[in-house]
Symmetry: D2
Subunit: 338 residues, 4 copies
Amino acid sequence: MIIIVKQQHDEKQLNNLVKWIKNQGLGVDLSVGAHSTILGVVGDTSKVDIDLVRSLDIVENVKRIQEPFKCANRKFHPEDTIVDINGIKVGGDNFQIIAGPCSVETEKQIVEVAKAVKKAGATLLRGGAFKPRTSPYSFQGLRETGIDLLLKAKEETGMPIVTEIMSVRHIDLFKDVDVVQIGARDMQNFELLKEVGKMNKVVLLKRGMCNTIEEWLMSAEYIMSEGTKDIILCERGIRTFEPYTRNTLDLSAIPLLKELTHLPVVVDPSHASGLSRLVRPLSLASVGSGADGLMIEVHNDPKNALCDGAQSIKPDEFEQIVEHINVMLPLCGKKEIV
Amino acid sequence: MIIIVKQQHDEKQLNNLVKWIKNQGLGVDLSVGAHSTILGVVGDTSKVDIDLVRSLDIVENVKRIQEPFKCANRKFHPEDTIVDINGIKVGGDNFQIIAGPCSVETEKQIVEVAKAVKKAGATLLRGGAFKPRTSPYSFQGLRETGIDLLLKAKEETGMPIVTEIMSVRHIDLFKDVDVVQIGARDMQNFELLKEVGKMNKVVLLKRGMCNTIEEWLMSAEYIMSEGTKDIILCERGIRTFEPYTRNTLDLSAIPLLKELTHLPVVVDPSHASGLSRLVRPLSLASVGSGADGLMIEVHNDPKNALCDGAQSIKPDEFEQIVEHINVMLPLCGKKEIV
Amino acid sequence: MIIIVKQQHDEKQLNNLVKWIKNQGLGVDLSVGAHSTILGVVGDTSKVDIDLVRSLDIVENVKRIQEPFKCANRKFHPEDTIVDINGIKVGGDNFQIIAGPCSVETEKQIVEVAKAVKKAGATLLRGGAFKPRTSPYSFQGLRETGIDLLLKAKEETGMPIVTEIMSVRHIDLFKDVDVVQIGARDMQNFELLKEVGKMNKVVLLKRGMCNTIEEWLMSAEYIMSEGTKDIILCERGIRTFEPYTRNTLDLSAIPLLKELTHLPVVVDPSHASGLSRLVRPLSLASVGSGADGLMIEVHNDPKNALCDGAQSIKPDEFEQIVEHINVMLPLCGKKEIV
Amino acid sequence: MIIIVKQQHDEKQLNNLVKWIKNQGLGVDLSVGAHSTILGVVGDTSKVDIDLVRSLDIVENVKRIQEPFKCANRKFHPEDTIVDINGIKVGGDNFQIIAGPCSVETEKQIVEVAKAVKKAGATLLRGGAFKPRTSPYSFQGLRETGIDLLLKAKEETGMPIVTEIMSVRHIDLFKDVDVVQIGARDMQNFELLKEVGKMNKVVLLKRGMCNTIEEWLMSAEYIMSEGTKDIILCERGIRTFEPYTRNTLDLSAIPLLKELTHLPVVVDPSHASGLSRLVRPLSLASVGSGADGLMIEVHNDPKNALCDGAQSIKPDEFEQIVEHINVMLPLCGKKEIV
């Protein structure tokens, strides 16, 4: 951490600051220049309150040198984390596709979609039971019943299931769920992160629509600091000024995450754009960017879907996308999907 | 709601769409132009799934004409809502200042700050007991104890208290809290909104750092649809590309909200910038924009604050700001602070 | 165009508005609902001043139905435009790579890079002669001399050249340049757009770092309205809140542009991220998204480059990227690069 | 400048880097920590290419300590610059209002508006002769004729005139213009900045809609490095995700600019929101934020304005705003408008 002290500063205040830093078990290097005095703070600075330091009268600016995340940091864990979900491996040279409908609606629907996407190459089944909706007047998901139906589809197909949790009150309902999803709007729901971190489950952590990569990894850190090791990050688009798409998919984040963290990262091209006809090009683009997998909405009857139909593609289109992905995977250091 | 149908469309699909809309109890006006066919949907369209309609093959675009919020909509409730908190009135021609430390730390600290800000003109006491922090390694607030200390300060000064709730698990702890705050990161924590909506309390709803005004009012709608009438909106800055400030305070939102909703709106200039030396100019700017009040961090000893010290000003500076605000209030249709 | 009139409106003002619209040769449909009166404006509304209409006392909101661009609109020109640059075809099922150094520095440098990228599969040579730099103290390019050196490299290799124009004063210097580039910062330099539109050259139009897709196509419209038909759009990243990358590459824009316009679109992965190690993954991602080509910075000695070295890759890495792109092209409806 | 070198680095490359820095006349402090090696670069680092350094294989990150602007930097010029325009002083404890129509239309119109705003307290007359419009089909201003009409209004009222330049081709037309305005879209039109910098005129430099404060000051630096001393900065809103307003006025920028630079700064509340009914609250807010002046669109007949009518207020409303501003000015360290 570098602290830039104002040119006109009170020596006593500077000494107090240096003392305060040293009291936190850190070292301080002082370097006096023509226009500023610089303090180099050495040691584990992840606990230093950067905002507090910035507020001091004598401080002009503060810059962090070390990343504030540790468990998620590749520097301290150079090998890729490979998450194992009932034998389905995410990370390393594996590529997995999570597919399924936006919302679980009926047993027939979820079982049919599950069978169709499994046949096409998907290995994990997604489906919304609890649905975060902007409007209280919109369909909020089948909730408990939705989870039961997902478990039936798992029984029928053997596919592990991925579904979103929205409240600490529902933790018990998720005991048979294989992958607990934290949605974009809950990425900084810190109390939920802490409780999910104690569940001893694989967690799929979506990026908040307005969160930086660093904040995202800090949210992974919340979960990991409670004992969870297996986190899958999921890029789903960020909010920008562009109105044509609901969100702007940030594919530069994928290779950057590969440098910063050992955790696997998948991309959700369905939610990013909100337009089903963009799913195919954005899926191929995601593979090209180096992602460890995709999360795609597939629906057997988009027109009658109760929610987010605009994002869903049909099983036959999905099958074709998977075929094309298979051609690309070897270029990206990944094994083909069998 | 206006649905623009593609030039080349299947007549049968168009008829199906018209039928589907009518089945929802809505009327449809059809208008055929040279390059597009337009459906005007008449009636209460707030429950129509705009994303689903947009997804249909024959649809080029959909535009909403009516705002999707109702309880919060000034069209259906033209007079200002005036929230009454133990006699302290927020809204209409009243102007209130909520002040206090970022975090509650000790009984001495919170009582001292409460007395100082009350003397200077603040009418409501704020203080964080549960603290949302980006890092799991940062101080997370005194939690239950923090609420007890706030209640002691209320006892000593008579000031109603405002403090943030972060989890549905803590609802019982808030039974004596006067104003329950929903923080920016929880603005779309819908399960929390619903449960807080049932508490029968005044709610202070902060704007999410990346949320539109419409989404903000939809979150108010979540709370109101559970029976709560008294909501105070709080603008606290949005995230932009500018790195000098933590957030960009959106003061244009204030006069816009005054048109769209009857709910009172206050501004938090402390969190917006993250710099205490900007609190004074941004407070005066907020008054000028037409806000119903301010929420300001005041601390008796910023240097030793456990968190967010950079945003806090000292009591004497606060007193001076209040004096200047008093000169401005009559220009803005507000009564002076006594 | 849909004009939503306020519930409480003056009938005389409404009649004036209807008359004013009709005077512009447009038709008006009036539809009266419970909470609003709606005017549907029929005809060529591209010249109606939407801001002026919005400002009227009786108007609540205005929404455009038709896109405001015409020459660039696929609706009025359904087939892909295929730009021909001395036999090099851009658009349709063709895929072209524009490569070269950020800045032209010496004859040796530009000729060597040109030969290396041509050998690897690039068909167009880029190189900056006039350089837009944030700081007046940074190297501003070799200017006239830079163009001379590019022309020498063209002579040696036969590759058509692409280089940026920054001022109407330099138009004569560009008479032998094959493709005139408009940079991101000049995307809305309307006086430059008009003069370049009269040059009768192929224009490569970069997206402004904070411009919407619609604004981008309106800038193409400026050039086209002066007689130019051959425009290549170039996505180079937009500005967001994410600090890790200089810009966020918006690959969703590619399939959207393919719907909205008939003009070819290429991607510049070098400028988007500002990090050369992201060029490879973002190049593959761009191909997957459906782009008609790439614009890549390649340098023979990045460390000593006078500018933007961080974005440049070396010829051998470039060669490998081209090989991988060739595997992907048939999946994306494109012919392989020979 | 702080350069963070990767943990695993080649010693030879590090030595090369140190040598390269020293060759630029700078000093280097080396500090070796557990996880990184840090180089502190001492001296005038404004000419070091930060992107080039970041690109080196051994470099993890680079952070600038000193601001890259000098002429505009308050550190090297602590007193406020007070710009004198024919006796009208901008900066220091002065507050000036620039008012006038969006576009100059007729002699009668501009002279009438000029008289009305002068009577109400405006001291500088604005009016668009060259108009930057998103669409080539929109009215582009009266151009040369517009400047002639402005000069007539100056003759009649004695008010100095402010008008926008859009091309280096028009420099001669601006020889009698008092304040040359650089519009938001041209803030980084560097060739224009350089030529305007040589005109020896007062320049009003608007902030680009997606530019940081630092980039804005670097553009001022371009003009100043050509010899111009008198620049007035003008905040006019930045682009965010919020669709209700055209731009989000960034009033936090005002007190920040007062710290960073000695140049005066005014606010344009008309263009920021694009809604005339927001002009009053945003004007008072701007005064509260500490601005040195306002730039307001006033029109005698908004309905028939040829452009941007939505932003214009009428003279009587303007007069009332000026009265209220006068009450606020002493709170903000400013003299009242006479």
